[in-house]
Amino acid sequence: MKNRFLYILLITLMGLWSCTSDDNSGPKGEYAKGIFVVNEGNFGLGNGSVSHFNTDTKEVEQDIFKSVNEIPLGDVVQSMHVDGKQAYIVVNNSKKVEVVDLGTFKSTATISAGLANPRYMATKGTKGYISNWGNFDASFNLDQSFIAVVDLTNQALLKKINTQNGTENVLIVGDRLFVSNNFTSTVEIINLATEAVEKSLTVGNSPGALAVDNAGTVWVVCGGSWGGNDGKLVSINASNGSIQKTIDLGFNVAAKMAINKPKNQHYIYSGKKVYRHQNNTVTPFLDITEFTSIYGIGFDEKNGHLYVSDDAGFAGNGTVRRYSEDGSLIDSFISGIGPNGFVFIVE
């Protein structure tokens, strides 16, 4: 009893301390800092979740959305996007985006109008841009992929911008939205002022993750065609929308990517192997033989650590490993089911 009292006192004091010391506009609360792991969950089972990892205490809290909001997050948690005090969690098969307060993880709104297999999200001002694969019919034919433009103040759908098949990652650079169309070979560039596609670039098969480097160039990783061993890293001049460089990898990769703090190195992976790209050179970085299959990758800029996750065959919770930039293993922790990505809160 006494211990419990002390514990409560300590928590209260800590809470007070965090309130007083952190008086600026950043998010407040238990989840205001640290690392979030996006756990897809098993398709159809509605067991997707977000785990929180505290880099100071090394404590992991599983399924924080459910513990705070008392309902499961949903089916196939695809991605999480953070903008200021808000986090937007895109739940693919539940066809919704949960908006939560980043500090408390309390759900503040749900965006669902017009969404069809939503994947990733970007925000600018009061508008949200959500990539959608579209709906599959009974024979698995896709109807129409699009970007849903959403009013973040009332969750209303403002517009659908039609895109090519399998619209996946989204990235805003200036007043342009770059979208990768994963079922095709294209990246489309949308002018945010006109909200229309102004350019379509052929980059390589199965484009996915997008990132900006230290020179302001947009990079896209292309997974490669089925059995084609033709994965690529392609850079795009953000101002004129032209392809600058294409690096042929000679093998297929996952369409995911992490970029280091100085934004001059990319980490990509294939199976159990992680590769690092710098200055047009791609070198093997890790071979994690203990993993079943790598499913997510991310870079913690604050500490300079690379995070790599194992999906464990989706038969149970996944594992996240942390590596330093020299490739040495720091430690590992258990996440939820199917950890597919990370969100690092930049303080």
């Binding site: 509605g46 309902i71 089916d75």
Partner: protein, 608 residues
Amino acid sequence: MVRLFLVIALVICHCVHLQAQADSVLLENITIRALPWQEFAAGLKVASIKQEAGVQHSLASVLSTNPRAYVKAYGAGQLATLSIRGTSSSQNALFWHGVNVNITSLGQSDFSLTPFALIDRADLQLGASSSLLGSDAIGGSIHIANEQPKSTEINLFTGLGSFGHHQVRVAASAVAGKFSFTSKAFRQSAKNNFPYTNTTKRGHPRETMENASFAQYGFTQDTWWQPTANKLIGLHVWFTDMDRNIQPTLSGANHDHQHDQSKRIMLDYYLENKFGKTEFKLARLEDRINFNGSLSVMPRVYGAVDHEVGHGSFTHKIGANVQRFGAKIDAYGSQIAELRSDLYYSVSYEPANSWLLTWAIRQTLAEGFDPPVTPSIGWEHTIGSKWKWSGNLARSYRMPTLNDRYWQPGGNPDLLPEHGMHGETSMTYSASSHFSTSVTLYGGKVTNWIIWLPNGSYWSPENIDKVTLSGVEYDMEWRPIKALAVALSYSLTKSVREQSYNPRFVGKQLPYVPMHQAKSTLSYTRQKLKANIAATWTGLRYTTADNDYRLPAFLLVDMGLAWPLHVRWLIAASANNITNSTYQLMENRAMPGINFNLTIQHTFKFNK
């Protein structure tokens, strides 16, 4: 439907007419035992699966209250596979008139597709029986068959149940001289719009299930012809058609649709003479699965011959079968056709009245495979008049399925068969017909356990895990007074990964294998009225290999009442899940709360 009625009525009239004419040729009936391998299976437990009078269930719904199996049902009336003795859905087999009818692409059966309305008997066999039954029979097997009728009659059945459930069945049987036959036609449909609490939504709202309706129809036709006293020719036909919407998960809102068809025809020829008993079987089987417009067709031709001969206190049986599998499945790229055959030999020996010893061995021959030779040995020993001690030691195996090998992308042509070693022993005590009890202990190990794992951008199966199985089964039946019967049964099932691709899974219980299951039944008969109440308790089940996620234990209480109004009329009513338990058999798939059934049957008898 009406046309079907007429056809049956015509056939029956015709046969009744024949019956009237048939006079002198009264042959002694040859009875082919429904489970001809059973005399070589000492120490293996076989129990008949029974449904309560007056209600027509699927095999899946009857087994869902049997503590000897766990039914993995994806909702009410939806896809349902079995785990027997802690094994996987593919490690058991459904046999129709002695032929393994597991769907060859999946290597498992959907037990929701088999209605009791079309079969005369069903048996559940527990334990490894590959030496007698071949591939898949690692955890156990289910056997369905129709039997030669003894009388000429027509039985009409109709039932109404909750959530728009309608059932109609016409069954007719006739005995006419050298011929006998039984015909059954069945149709059922349900809106299946049951209410449930949606725990995945804010405020846990009560919702009504959508997109779970189904309609099934089917018929069986079994004809026997006994041209001479020592010959019996049988022709068996099976057809079922299930059209259903796929019940969505609590968190999803899909609108999937599946249409399943099974067509089976078999000719068997049985001959008994001084050289022994010989049986030939020739069958053609076909399963069709149409999921959202994408059709898979799995045809199969099966032929078997076996010969049994008695020699003093020995009985020998030798046999062989050949199967030709085909598959037309888009994901395989090209059409598949392959041959597989089995050779087997079994012997039973009764050295004394109190001893029965059996031994069996089987070898499957399949191109590109080297399946293990599978022997078994069994014994039964009666001690005094009340005790029986029995046991069985066996090897088991399972061939990789067609999907495991041919699915593009990912299919792994280099897979090896799974194989296991098993042992069990039982002690049974029965004191007259009032009391009996038995306990069984079993243990085993299955290696090369096949698991699909992500492999870059696709999934691929590998022979990777090793699982240790062990358990205890307890049964008790007691009749304190003539009118009252009490039955208790309990299963302890431990199914633990000894080796795994993920070290976190080692030492953990397999998902969807409840460690504890129990059932108690109370039946009361007064004059003609029969009442029963059954309580089935299913312990917690893990849903993941690391045991970090689970479904809680649940209790189901069902009540039934059967009332024969007259020799010809039977009215039955049942109330299921009367405590309105909220439970799931598979994660995130709702099951109905309290529900009711009312059925009426009428039988016309022609013989007397």
